[in-house]
């Protein structure tokens, strides 16, 4: 094989490997991803056994702690559908009623259970709380 | 906006104009172009290429002495590098041969 041919072969092999890996990556990302839904969407679309990321605000008056389990309700940013859920794991400092949260949940029967350590609380409204915050994805 | 602030702004403006306008004023008064006497881009590039080539020669020797290259391979690589170095030196001489001996940067 001439050197030029060798180089072409090398290039083709390298490119094919890259394409294969990229395809694997892209494919698994779609299947491993949790869709981000608001509470109203979650109620309509959630299927048992799949994880979903629900984004909303913590409903006032809904926070109760029972030992290691934290129970609270998440409602749409604009108000409306409220979903009660139970969550175990680290609770970020900014967590409070009225704050925006993102939590990964699964539907179990008619209830929603939060995945361990998946609770993220967004820093309150405006920018003033700058690059801070806690990511609870362990 | 009080007087102090206004004066400060004017002072800042004057400073900026002075900094930015200096080369233009110098040129207008007949000074030589700012890049006269500096080595040309070609010379600078060749000098950088030459330095890099010397580094390569040293690296090859280091590779040989630390046992990564056999003597045969080393001599082949070294000969090739030195040939490339001479080529660069030739080009430097040709570039300088035209003008005066420009000072090295």
């Amino acid at each position: 094989m001439t050197p030029a041919r060798k180089r072409t072969v090398r290039l083709v092999v390298a490119l094919s490997a890259a394409v294969v890996l990229a395809t694997a990556l892209i494919y698994t990302s779609f299947s491993a991803a949790s869709p981000a839904l608001s509470p109203s969407q979650l109620v309509r679309q959630a299927q048992p056994g799949r994880s979903y990321q629900v984004t909303g605000t913590v409903a006032p008056g809904s926070v109760h702690r029972a030992g290691e389990v934290l129970n609270f309700s998440v409602e749409d940013r604009a108000g409306g559908t409220k979903i009660p859920l139970s969550y175990t794991g680290t609770v970020p400092d900014p967590f409070q009623e009225g704050r925006e949260v993102i939590v990964t949940v699964q539907r179990q029967g008619s209830a929603f259970v939060g995945e361990r350590n998946s609770l993220i609380t967004k820093c309150p409204s405006k920018y003033k709380t700058a690059p801070a915050g806690e990511n609870q994805n362990s | 906006m009080n007087v102090v602030v206004f004066v400060l702004i004017l002072a800042l403006l004057a400073l900026v104009v002075a900094i930015v306008g200096a080369p233009l004023r110098r040129r207008a008064h007949g000074a030589a172009p700012a890049d006269e006497g500096l080595e040309s881009p070609l010379e600078a590039d060749l000098a950088a290429a030459r330095d890099a080539k010397y580094q390569e020669i040293r690296d090859a020797e280091m590779d040989y002495r630390t046992g990564k290259l056999s003597l045969e391979d080393y001599e082949a690589v070294d000969a090739g590098l030195r040939a490339e170095a001479i080529e660069i030196l030739d080009r430097i001489e040709r570039a300088e041969g035209g003008g005066g001996p420009g000072p090295e940067a």
Partner: protein
């Protein structure tokens, strides 16, 4: 004074526009005085922005709440250090910091190249002023740091307590220095393409800028990880959060560039690749800044108004389109001069390293922007979590570490196969010994961590062999004693041996990462005083409650009004390991509806983590005391009803006493992480090695010799 600041911004904008025009006109017409004037415009910009920054800084230090940003992020009770640093905790202030740092670093870079690369530097000046002008324009039109409200409010909102940690306040300037430094190689890359001079001189200059960017960005990332670990309440240092990823991506491409640059220098190859890398690094840095400033991705750092999103998207679009156009239109100039001699060469290893690094960057890019991608493709926004990232980055990291162990053993150009086989003996043996030892120690159930440990051992063996052999060579040449030989070896071969040290540092860092992620014990505990429980091999006992009031006992000087916590005793197999004192600090809020006493502690609570850092493991604990307990709530209600003004502080004393007397059970988060300290140590080694590698060697002798005489001597040398 605010008008002075705003006037500075307007002047800055004018200077940027002028500088762009002057530089481009200067380089196209050949009238050097205009390029020179354009360069000085950058110096002027630095001066103007320094004044503007000083105005804002002084406003913060003087508590001038007429400035909106001061009122939003500072208060009379915010401690001095945090008041000074609060300048960049707001959107507007951070834009000013970015622009200021850009102008300062650009001035330095252009000053250093003032006698060289005239045309390249002129275009680079225009690009840098373009960036500066963009950020100044953002401030002038969208987010003015000098906006005022008169009459000024009496008190400000105060700095968010989550930010009241020293590391947290140093992190933004470090990171912004990294980001802004990335724009300098970008600018010089664009300049080189426009001036059609992607050559040896360009390599020499750009390497320094790329290294500075790599260093600052890396330190910024490490500081952020350290802050997250030691001061936030979740006990982790990396969560694959969008902003973490955003800063890592340009660092990865920057690392790739530092390696592939050497190949272009030696063989004139990979010009297209290098230019693309340098342009990508700058673009990724701007994208990183954009991610942090806009709410486009769900992340805890999702702040910043939607108003900033559009200008940034436009800028990024221009950067990408412009870069692609330039590279494609200049491709004839970027053709390789040579080809790869052999796959068994250090050049080939560097190419492999580049592929892995770019692959890593692609994985992280895909995962980070996936919510936007999936929404665009499927209409449904979805995101991937840390497990997905880990699945792809861990194997790639393994390959990377392995390559860094193979590289030192292979020669440049082409290596002799027989020699290479022999040279691999020692490193492979080191790795095998490590494998056996670790298997015997019982770590076989965590294969990925085991693989990483063995790869790291491989690197150690390979690098140690290099140092030993090199020292031997020095001794043979110069007859020095071993320590002196070692020193002169490194001094004469800085790039090589500095690079080896960097790789050792990375291996150490990855050992720390592998150990602390695979072998961590973490639990949530609910304990009452006197109660103890087992976590793995450790016994955790709640010894006694603690309470403190500010300011006298606020050791961290964070300004919390009340801190409640506990003393916790940790022991292992009966032997005392550590005593931890985690606490939760309660801060004042501005919310009158919580009552006079309630608002004293109704603000953002912040966890004060307690940690015992050790060589082999860190023991870490955070506490969430039950502030809702009836005994405490009763006091708060009573205080709300009866007390006002200064008297409310008395209630805090009662709260503290009540908490100490009858403490309710508290939630503890308890983590034991092995070898975390080595992550920070490894990082320090990496940066130390980097500094060694890039430190200019004392090769200035040639400069003093006349050109012709030097050339003659060179020929003699070359022929010898």
């Amino acid at each position: 004074m605010a008008s002075l600041g705003f006037a500075c911004l307007l002047l800055a904008l004018a200077v940027c526009v002028y500088g762009i025009g002057a530089s481009i006109y200067g380089v196209r017409s050949g009238r050097v005085e205009f390029s020179e004037s354009g360069r000085r415009a950058v110096y002027a910009l630095a001066a103007i922005l320094t004044v503007a920054f000083a105005v804002l800084e002084i406003a913060f230090l003087r508590n001038d709440f007429g400035f909106n940003t001061v009122a939003d992020t500072s208060s009379r009770t915010t401690p001095g250090f945090y008041r000074a640093a609060a300048v960049w905790s707001s959107q507007e202030g951070s834009l000013l910091l970015w622009a200021w740092l850009l102008s300062m670093w650009s001035s330095l870079a252009l000053f250093l190249t003032r006698r060289r690369m005239r045309d390249v530097a002129a275009y680079a000046t225009a690009v840098l002023l373009g960036f500066g002008g963009f950020f100044v324009a953002l401030m002038v039109f969208y987010a003015n740091p000098f906006a005022t409200t008169r009459p000024a409010p009496a008190e400000g909102a105060g700095l968010d307590p989550l930010l009241r940690f020293p590391t947290m306040m140093i992190h933004p300037p470090m990171l912004y220095s990294g980001y802004t430094l990335c724009t300098i190689p970008f600018a010089f890359g664009i300049g080189a393409l426009l001036a059609r001079r992607v050559d040896a001189e360009w390599i020499k200059a750009i390497r320094r800028f790329a290294f500075a960017a790599w260093l600052f960005l890396g330190v910024g990332i490490l500081l952020g990880a350290r802050w997250s670990y030691s001061e936030l309440g979740w006990g982790g240092y990396w969560g694959w959060d969008a902003v973490e990823n955003a800063s890592l991506m340009p660092w990865l491409t920057g690392t790739a560039f530092l390696h592939s640059l050497m190949i272009q220098e030696k063989r004139g190859m990979l010009k297209v690749w290098n230019v693309s890398l340098v342009l990508a690094t700058g673009t990724l840095a701007v994208m990183g800044t954009f991610l942090v400033r806009s709410g486009v991705l769900n992340s805890i750092h999702a702040f910043g108004g939607a108003t900033l999103g559009v200008p940034f998207v436009v800028l990024i679009g221009v950067l990408i389109a412009g870069s692609i156009y330039l590279v494609v239109s200049r491709r004839d100039m970027l053709r390789s001069e040579h080809r790869l001699d052999s796959l068994l060469s250090r050049e080939a290893m560097f190419i492999a390293n580049n592929l892995v690094l770019v692959g890593l960057c692609f994985v992280i890019f895909w995962g980070t922007y996936f919510p936007l991608i999936s929404e665009a493709l499927t209409g449904q926004e979805a995101s991937v979590g840390p497990p997905w990232f880990d699945r792809y980055t861990v194997p790639l990291a393994l390959v990377l570490v392995l390559l860094s162990g193979i590289g030192p053993v292979i020669a440049w150009r082409r290596a002799t196969l027989a020699n290479a086989r022999r040279n691999f003996l020692m490193p492979v043996c080191t790795a095998l010994i490590a494998l056996v030892v670790l298997l015997v120690a019982g770590i076989g159930d965590k294969p990925l961590a085991l693989a990483m440990f063995c790869c790291a051992a491989f690197v150690f063996g390979s690098v140690a062999q290099e140092f030993v052999r090199g020292t031997r060579v020095r001794r043979a040449i110069a007859g020095e004693s071993p320590p002196r030989a070692l020193l002169s070896l490194v001094r004469r071969n800085r790039r090589r041996y500095g690079g080896y040290i960097v790789h050792v540092g990375m291996a150490v860092l990855f050992i720390g990462v592998a150990a602390s992620s695979s072998f961590q014990h973490a639990s949530e505990l609910s304990l009452s005083p006197g109660q103890s429980t087992r976590v793995g091999a450790y016994t955790v006992r709640y010894v006694r409650p603690t309470a403190s009031l500010t300011p006298a006992y606020d050791r961290a000087h964070t300004g919390s009004t009340l801190a409640l916590g506990a003393e916790v005793d940790v022991s292992r197999h009966g032997r005392h390991v550590a005593t931890l004192q985690p606490s939760e600090g309660y801060y004042a809020s501005q919310d009158p509806s919580q009552g006079s006493v309630g608002s004293l502690i109704g603000g953002q609570p912040v966890s004060h983590v307690s940690m015992d850092a050790g060589v082999t493991r860190d023991v870490w604990s955070a506490i969430a005391p039950n502030i809702e307990a009836p005994v405490l709530q009763r006091i708060i209600k009573a205080g709300n009803a009866d007390l006002t003004g200064e008297d409310t502080l008395v209630a805090l004393g009662y709260l503290a006493r009540a908490y100490l007397k009858s403490p309710p059970p508290a939630q503890f988060h308890f983590i034991v992480s092995p070898l975390v300290m080595w992550i920070w140590v490894g990082g320090l080694i990496v940066f130390g090695g980097g500094l060694i590698a890039v430190w200019p060697a004392p090769s200035t002798v040639r400069r003093r010799v006349g050109a012709r005489a030097g050339a003659r001597r060179d020929r003699a040398l070359a022929r010898a």
